[in-house]
Symmetry: C2
Subunit: 410 residues, 2 copies
Amino acid sequence: MKATIVTIGDEILIGQILDTNSRYISQALNRIGVVVAERTSIGDSAEQITQTLTRALESTDIVIITGGLGPTKDDITKHTLARYFGSELVYNAEVGEFVRTLLERRGIAFNDLNRGQAMVPKCCTVLHNAHGTAPGMWFEQDDKVVVSLPGVPFEMEHLIDDSVIPMLKARFELKAIVHRTMITSGIAESLLAERIAAWEDALPDVLHLAYLPAPNVVRLRLSAYEVEQSEAEALIDSQFEALRQIIPEAVVGFEGATVEQAVHNWMVANRCTLSVAESCTGGNIASKFTAMAGASAYFNAGVVSYSNEAKCDILGVNGEDIARYGAVSETVALQMAQGARRAGRSDYAIATTGIAGPTGGSAEKPVGTVWIAIATPTKCFAVLKNCGTDRRQIIDRATAYAIKLLYDNL
Amino acid sequence: MKATIVTIGDEILIGQILDTNSRYISQALNRIGVVVAERTSIGDSAEQITQTLTRALESTDIVIITGGLGPTKDDITKHTLARYFGSELVYNAEVGEFVRTLLERRGIAFNDLNRGQAMVPKCCTVLHNAHGTAPGMWFEQDDKVVVSLPGVPFEMEHLIDDSVIPMLKARFELKAIVHRTMITSGIAESLLAERIAAWEDALPDVLHLAYLPAPNVVRLRLSAYEVEQSEAEALIDSQFEALRQIIPEAVVGFEGATVEQAVHNWMVANRCTLSVAESCTGGNIASKFTAMAGASAYFNAGVVSYSNEAKCDILGVNGEDIARYGAVSETVALQMAQGARRAGRSDYAIATTGIAGPTGGSAEKPVGTVWIAIATPTKCFAVLKNCGTDRRQIIDRATAYAIKLLYDNL
């Protein structure tokens, strides 16, 4: 069973917002065995909506549309769909009453525009939107399904999970899609491909291999589409086991494994604790750890010591050393890591101090210069790293590098 | 002049990665006056690439393609384009030597797969990729332009900025596209639309109005496509000035204005300083401020006091109060804010303490419960807020709410 995802909104085409809805829907459809053949973003134009829908229904069985369901004049999806399906708009009292209640709870008067949101094409099945004023709509024609959902991510996500996915499972006989991803590190993509060429050539036809390179990492994904789930899983497992024997030193983990997750797991398993002291990364390292459920088991404290005073007062860095070597120096990085370990009463600590830019660089210490220090129960050391030229890039790279450096020293 | 953006890769269709390339390219094209008519993501399939390219060239003048240019077997874009344009692949010595040098610098041997990356369709103009091994390619046919770029965001961005945009400006006579966005807060979308209906109805035809709702915020965007730039800007300015007089209390700012940017500007202008103490937000508030260039002028310190000891040791919270009231309490929030203000030697401080979940909630203090405290030179107060049910949602909402609470008290 194949699907097209259509996201509607000029704000996507001009790059004002990032289209995260498509990814959410892609993942949800893949989980129930629906293959996403294409994703398309178009403007708030009746002509484009009609053309795209016509084309999508020619090549796929399911079309999921998001956006253009708001109460204002720039929202035209509903009227366009009503015309497409030759259906009139009728007032749905249940939706109307729900919207009225929802607004009253927020102290907002129900007006004509809200009443308009309760008008739906007569031919559709209304999908209850418990979190917003625009209902979802389910259309069927010639054994194909078209679903229209609001573009607000939170509302769309609930409608996908609570209505669309169960209804698709009930409506179609679906096979499974299985994806598994092996994370490798330390072998460049072209060398990796060379080394595993014989294994790749011998893969059964049902499995598709993809290489996904990222800094220091190549992810290898095996996918099987519209298959019997447990058989495909067993097949992929055996192929990955064979692959592991070819590149044992490079395999880091599977699926969305991140280095911070590996540190998290290690800390929990070993009942150790962690603190961080951040200057240039500004809280980014702390937020990576604390975003993970259960981080409070080991994450004791983070200090964002942006000012020199904070470095001295909270972390116990020697003010004379800052004056002599500069805040961005090996000495200060080491003292920050030791200070974080002490102040956070923890077993391990990470510290970063660098120049995130755009200003503050010099010939000797250009923008991008970052000292990263690690303190463990047995040692404390620092590494100098140039993390690029752009502020966001520098923060992200220094964060990734620092977490990896800790991981390598656990 | 109209463009289609095509991103190629099964990893997009299965939702494994977020398509950020399309947004970057959309913004770049809009800046030089090229209208993006459609964005499409398709799989690594020669048939789909050919069909999509054919269709895109029927309705638009420029097609920008990213992805599928790596060295491995799943990368088929280049071969497909060579066939599409009836051109053979030839070895480009300049690309070959550059790739060899790039790899040698990283200590990687140049192999047959890398040599393959230097093979390009004879009919294309090669675009030098200074940051990776896959060159960009520029094709022309019947007065239309097709550009193929690597999918790695960093490499694609440099190629867009350094090659594609200057070449498009030289190749086509482009008019301007002007977007301006007014940020409003405090009036619900439907009420806002009602209140500004007369203004909206009287807008000149060249201007397109869009409503972009978000929590507590409605953004109003006026767009003019393929116009004379300064005229359109003046027209939009005068319309927004008229709008401001209709809803003076609701206008927060323009364009990508964020509340943290407003706090940042205020702190810099008033030479005041800020520190934060975070429990449940785990460094997220600090990272919002420190992500902005120039934050070091006012951001003194952040403390991620995850453990009770860190709250006491670093922030001076009273341990008995934690035992009596719990770490998630008004008392502790207030002491954290005061402690952050003191430890960071700053004028203002924000503190958060809450239950981000998924565990740790109780009947009295369910997951999502967050105390937010603000300390200023003249007062210190705390507010209780339920921030939702999902860990990421709770962190993000508590962060946004805390920054807004500070802003309202500057």
